[in-house]
Symmetry: C2
DNA sequence: GCACTATTTGGCAATATAGCCAAATAGCCA
DNA sequence: TGGCTATTTGGCTATATTGCCAAATAGTGC
């Protein structure tokens, strides 16, 4: 059932692993507005350049983003565009949970 | 930019963290067909019952699934139904990558 | 109550991830 | 070439996750 095509599930989970970090989530949402160089993302995140670079390589290896070098800078942009649809789904569910907790409290 | 609403991104990333494991991914897909008890999922996964139980609690805490106790058994079912749409997106992207690698090789 | 089954929880060792610093690499310009 | 900037890579420590076993909890039926 599971063990026979475990690698199949491992490949798929790589994408979710890539999105499973606040900094990487932020970057993907930022890239939704257009390509950004590493330096721009670094400034926005307030993390070390090397840390940001490693986060981006995680997203790249998962196939979520792609990169292009132009001069000194490396520009990243979204490749797996459909992941943007995830965020509204997740947000909606989180909002519903909050609403439900509130109505439980006030009941 | 990021540091000011870091907790916001942390909450969202919880959902992706929950999906970022092959066993949990398998369970969510299985639950798409209907509710399952822990024992059924344990049999399919070939993991220790305690391990499966912990995986399920991760999914529950993230709001992805919900549980209901009936007699001795605890039945889990999908709560965040929209996550099912993720899988086709991810699969489609992975397929495209494979196709692209193939065409690069044969070119 | 006792015995039995299903599930959860605590604890531990092995492994993976995140962040920083330092060093390496790559491209620009003089 | 050398100096400068942007990015990546290696290495390290701190922290988080995974999976097992053992023990605790909860529900059933005698």
């Amino acid at each position: 059932m599971f063990k026979t095509n475990r690698t199949h599930y491992e490949k798929r989970s790589q994408v979710f692993k890539a999105l499973a970090h606040p900094a990487r989530l932020f970057m993907v949402e930022e890239l939704a507005s257009g390509e950004r160089c590493v330096c721009e993302l670094t400034a926005m995140l307030g993390l070390d350049t090397s840390t940001v670079s490693k986060h981006l390589s995680v997203l790249k290896n998962a196939g979520v983003v792609s990169d292009e070098k132009r001069g000194l800078m490396v520009y990243y942009s979204i490749k797996m565009t459909c992941v943007l649809g995830f965020f509204s789904c997740v947000q909606k569910s989180l909002d519903e949970d909050v609403r439900q907790q509130f109505s439980t409290l006030s009941a």
